[in-house]
Amino acid sequence: MKRIVLIEDNPDNRLLMQVMLGRTHDLVAFESGAAALAGMGKAPPDLVLLDISLPEMDGTEVLRRLRADARLGQIPVIALTAHAMTGDREKYLALGFDGYISKPILDEELLLEAISGVLERKAST
């Protein structure tokens, strides 16, 4: 079972993700980037699902710090965001995210496909 860290400030969304992924993945959710960066150090996950609009430290900053961290730098990070206007996908991929999933998530399968896609790509490199 893959270990996934979710960083999401909205409790509804945390719950939704828990329902969608909880049975098939080892999902750990954090409310903020700071908490996640502190908590992840103990047991580095296989994947990070990262919201962008977070209070205090936003998603892009979290990504930057993850990438700068020797132990966590290689973990694939997927942007899970409601920033879904035209061009946003390209923007976040260009920033260094390994994947991009826009909210609302229309289908559970789409989410699972995106996650396994990123994991596979990471594994093959």
């Binding site: 509804d12 969304n13 939704l16 409601a82 920033h83 879904a84 826009s102 229309l106 289908d107």
Partner: protein
């Protein structure tokens, strides 16, 4: 001219003579000098001769006198005294002791003695009565006889003659030997005397002095020679001096002459100038008169302008004193003109203002440039006004500053309006930015709760616990569907807002339209499942390449097809891609449905937001009502437009026009549908026979064989083929055609189908079974072409008769490969150049390369290529600059250019490139295949566009 000529002729001989004298003065002087020398020499010679003679005469006379005196003295003082004493006086006294010589004997001996001296003179005594002992006592020659006779007659006068003795000039000087007292006694008494009756005074004989002149002559001559030499030397010196002086004089004369000539020429010139200037003076006077009246007119105009234009105008001198002002300024200032002139700003304005004006004036004068500003002022009442001021330096004719002129007028109102406008603009921009921020925020904030709505309803719909009733599930489904509808709405509203805010960027790439259509069809296939609708794609078999933004074009197609599906209950929805027959370029994409159609009056508004044909349609057919609005906005962004035709009840056709026909037909129906901005159609496909883009023609050497049994058809086809630039051969039957094809090996063959004996089908068969001929492309041209399209396998194309020029030439262009093209690859990256060259390896073209724009320009100078492949970012001259240069140059503006770049283009750049290049390829993205397709297209296009009507 005439008078001057005359004058010259009159003074000519005199002047010539003077010139002759001056020119030959030295020669003349030499001649004169020579003559002088001759005369002087001759004279000297004469003088010297005379001198010699006088000297000789004097000397001879002296000797003779001396000898006579000596004998007389001897005779009287010696002989006469000793004789009485018995002393013998005899001629042979030497032999007798105590004897003394006779006077004559002594005289002879004395003479002999003298002759031995330097003078060489001899003394001779002779007589016609000589003593017997004298050997030569008588006259010996004619002179002596003559002398005796002459002296006897005139004893007082000496007798002399100039003779030549042994070739020496000699003076013979004879004097009479006259008997004295003593002589007579002695002679008459002498026993041997031949005569004894001598009396005193008788001439006894002759005393002759023979005086050779040689030494005197020699001396005189040498003296004369010295004199002559001295004189000659002096003369030569003098001559040399004279020569020098004359030389100098002559030089001066020549110089003077030149001077005179020059002065004369100058004078002449000046005269001419004077005449000219006189003429021009007259002209000038005329012009001046005219100018004066023009000046008066102009002054009147100036005055009317200065006084009637609603402007204030004044001038000041360098000291800031007013020199002029118009009436408006005077009345504004409240001072009459005469009171204003000579005053300065300080006389009318507060000190700070006056200082500012003076400073402005100073600046204008110092920089000698006009200043054009809007100044802010405050009226005495404290109201802010704005004044537009133009201050200009004034200069006199020499360009020296003489003052300043100011024109100003009140622009308070305009200024206020502008300020308001600027504020409004700033506010609008701020509002726009706020709107964008708001949109982004709203998007985010709306999606977040929707995530829960859609997500949780989705999970519940799965009914994993199995405890939900069908009714519950249907409610959940309503929640799900409405959640998704809400999401669509949000997405589309946001897209539209973005397009309208011009925040949408265009990303161009090479797209195969056929492929894209198929892709969209596949995506939408699900929508026609279980419905009575057929989804049809009608696209050309070959690739239809298009330079466009794939994502946006896809969205347009999805919207149009989705729309058609939505409003069509049964029948078909067809997507048709139409290409230009000549260039295979995509012309338009049509979505044709058999749906409910749109009433004519609604056609005007269907592209407006939230305007479906009927207010009820939203409820009935769903959708946001934004699809067409977005599609139209997107197509405008890409340079396309959407047209629509519709008949209520039988269906609609939405046509996405990708590029316009050269002469677009305007349809009233489409009048509301405007083409995006004023953009020209993409140039990649702008080539047609009317186009100015004439490309180099390289098909002259291609041979086309026409096989047709109809003479008229052969003539027409030949004409068209020749017009295209190819050579033509004709055959009137299938058999003859085959034979000629074997002989001539044409590059292309056209064949009629319906021919007697051997039909076109037979010809095709025969060609395809012959290994020598099977590779020659065959084109069928027949009145039954369409019907037989399927059965003429092996023909590269089929043409309907009568064959149109366009159709035939399109086939030729497609089929005939150009002989040889030159392709210029401009890229600074060597790897890129190598890669491109590899891609071009298959092309029948010569590839040349250049590192940057500058070098590429040089290459262009060498040969004009048929295609340029251009990188944009290069050191030195970059691609854009290069492109701008060649597109302005008539020689190269038609050369097709394909840009291959790694640069991310802005919409602006992409638009610019689309207007001036054939294609733009991303370096990272493009595939070898795309590249080849483009090249093939360009080469074909090149040939089709080469066709121009005669």
């Amino acid at each position: 001219m005439y008078g001057r000529g005359n004058m010259k002729a009159g003074s000519q001989p005199k002047a010539a003579f003077v010139r002759l004298l001056v020119n030959h003065v030295v020669l003349i002087l030499c001649l004169l000098f020579g003559l002088g020398v001759v005369i002087v020499t001759w004279n000297l010679y004469r003088l010297s001769s005379r001198l010699v003679r006088i000297t000789a005469l004097q000397s001879a006379s002296l000797q003779a006198d001396w000898i006579s005196d000596f004998r007389s003295l001897y005779t009287s003082n010696v002989v006469a005294r000793v004789r009485p004493h018995g002393i013998e006086v005899t001629h042979d006294y030497m032999e007798r002791d105590g004897a003394i010589p006779l006077p004559a004997t002594l005289t002879i001996e004395l003479g002999e003695q003298m002759g031995q001296g330097l003078s060489g003179a001899r003394v001779r005594l002779y007589s016609d009565y000589p003593f017997p002992w004298r050997t030569n006592g008588g006259p010996q020659d004619a002179f002596e006889i003559d002398a005796l006779q002459a002296l006897r007659l005139q004893p007082d006068r000496p007798y002399y003659r100039w003779t030549n003795e042994d070739n020496n000039p000699t003076l013979r000087y004879a004097v009479a030997d006259v008997m004295g007292n003593g002589c007579v006694l002695c002679h008459n008494a002498h026993p041997d005397s031949p005569k004894t009756d001598w009396r005193v005074g008788d001439v006894r004989g002759v005393l002759e002095i023979v005086h050779p002149l040689e030494s005197i002559v020699a001396q005189t001559r040498s003296g004369m020679r010295e004199s002559i030499a001295l004189m000659g030397g002096l003369g030569l010196l003098g001559l040399a001096g004279l020569g020098l002086i004359f030389g100098r004089i002559r030089q001066n004369a020549v110089f003077l002459e030149q001077e005179v000539a020059e002065r004369t020429a100058n004078l002449r010139e000046q005269t001419e100038k004077l005449m000219q200037s006189n003429e021009s003076l007259q002209r000038e006077i005329f012009e001046r008169n005219r100018a004066e009246s023009a000046l008066q007119d102009s002054e009147a105009l100036y005055h009317s302008l200065v006084e009637y234009l609603p402007l204030n105008l004044f001038r000041k001198d360098l000291q800031g004193r007013f020199t002029f002002a118009n009436q408006r300024f005077c009345s504004e200032l409240g001072v009459p003109l005469h009171a204003l002139i000579g005053k300065t700003d300080s006389d009318f304005f507060p000190a700070n203002l006056a200082a500012k004006y003076q400073e402005d004036d100073r600046r204008v004068i110092a920089s000698s440039q006009s200043v054009d500003t809007v100044e802010e002022h405050e009226t005495p009442e404290g109201v802010k006004i704005y004044v537009h001021v133009i201050k200009t330096p004034l200069r006199d004719r020499t360009g020296a500053a003489i003052g300043v002129q100011a024109i100003f007028w009140d622009v308070t109102e305009r200024q206020r309006a502008e300020e308001a406008l600027q504020q409004a603009k700033n506010a609008a921009e701020e509002a726009n930015r706020a709107k964008s921020r708001f949109l982004a925020n709203m998007s985010h904030e709306l999606r977040t709760p929707l995530n829960s709505v859609i997500g949780f309803s989705n999970i519940l719909l799965k009914n994993q616990s199995g405890n939900l009733r069908p009714e519950d599930l249907s409610f959940l489904s309503r929640i799900q569907i409405n959640g998704r509808h809400l999401l669509d709405l949000i997405n589309q509203i946001l897209d539209l807002a973005k397009i309208e805010a011009r925040r949408m960027e265009v990303e161009l790439s090479m797209v195969d339209l056929g492929e894209l259509v198929k892709e969209v069809m596949g995506q939408l296939e699900g929508q026609v499942r279980d419905r009575d609708i057929v989804l049809v794609a009608e696209v050309p078999p070959s690739a239809v390449l298009l330079q466009t933004d794939k994502i946006k074009l896809r969205q347009i197609i999805i919207n149009l097809v989705g729309n058609a599906l939505k409003f069509t209950e049964k029948g078909q929805v067809k997507v048709r891609v139409t290409t230009d027959p000549a260039t295979s370029q995509a012309r338009c994409l049509e979505v044709i449905d058999t749906g409910i159609g749109i009433p004519t009056e609604r056609l005007q508004v269907i592209f407006d937001a939230f305007q479906q044909a009927d207010g009820t349609t939203t409820r009935k057919y769903g959708g946001t009502g934004l699809g067409l609005t977005i599609s139209q906005a997107l197509s405008q962004l890409l340079g396309y437009r959407i047209e629509v035709q519709s008949t209520v009840g039988s269906g609609s056709t939405f046509r996405l026009v990708l590029y316009d026909e050269p002469a677009p037909k305007k349809s009233a129906k489409n009048s509301t549908v405007e083409k995006a901005s004023a953009e020209p159609p993409p140039p990649a496909i702008a080539a047609d026979s009317e186009s100015t883009r004439v490309r180099p023609l390289k098909l002259q050497d291609k041979l086309v064989l026409i096989i047709d049994d109809e003479a008229d058809a052969r003539v027409l086809m030949s004409h068209l083929v020749e017009e295209f630039g190819c050579r033509v051969a004709v055959a009137d039957s299938g058999e003859r055609g085959l034979q000629m094809a074997r002989e001539l090996k044409p590059d292309l063959i056209t064949v009629d189908l319906l021919m007697p004996r051997m039909s076109g089908f037979d010809v095709l068969k025969a060609f395809k079974s012959d290994p020598d001929l099977r590779d020659i492309p065959l084109v069928v041209a027949s009145v039954v072409a369409e019907d037989n399209r399927g059965s003429v396998l092996g023909a590269v194309d089929v043409l309907e008769k009568p064959v149109s020029r366009e159709a035939l030439q399109a086939v030729l262009a497609r089929t005939l490969k150009p002989t040889s093209n030159t392709i210029l690859v401009v890229d600074d990256d060597e790897d890129a150049r190598t890669l491109l060259k590899q891609y071009l390896a298959d092309c029948p073209a010569k590839v040349r390369t250049a590192n940057d724009g500058q070098i590429a320009l040089q290459r262009l100078g060498e040969t004009t290529p048929d295609l340029i492949i251009l990188d944009l970012m290069m050191p030195g001259m970059d691609g854009m600059t290069f492109l701008n240069i060649i597109r302005r140059d008539a020689r190269y503006q038609h050369v097709p250019v394909v840009v291959v770049t790694a640069k991310t283009l802005t919409a602006e750049e992409a638009r610019a490139l689309r207007n001036s290049t054939e294609a733009v390829l991303g370096k990272a993205k493009f595939k070898a295949e795309d590249f080849k397709n483009i090249l093939t297209r360009i080469i074909h296009e090149t040939h089709s566009s080469s066709v121009h009507k005669p």
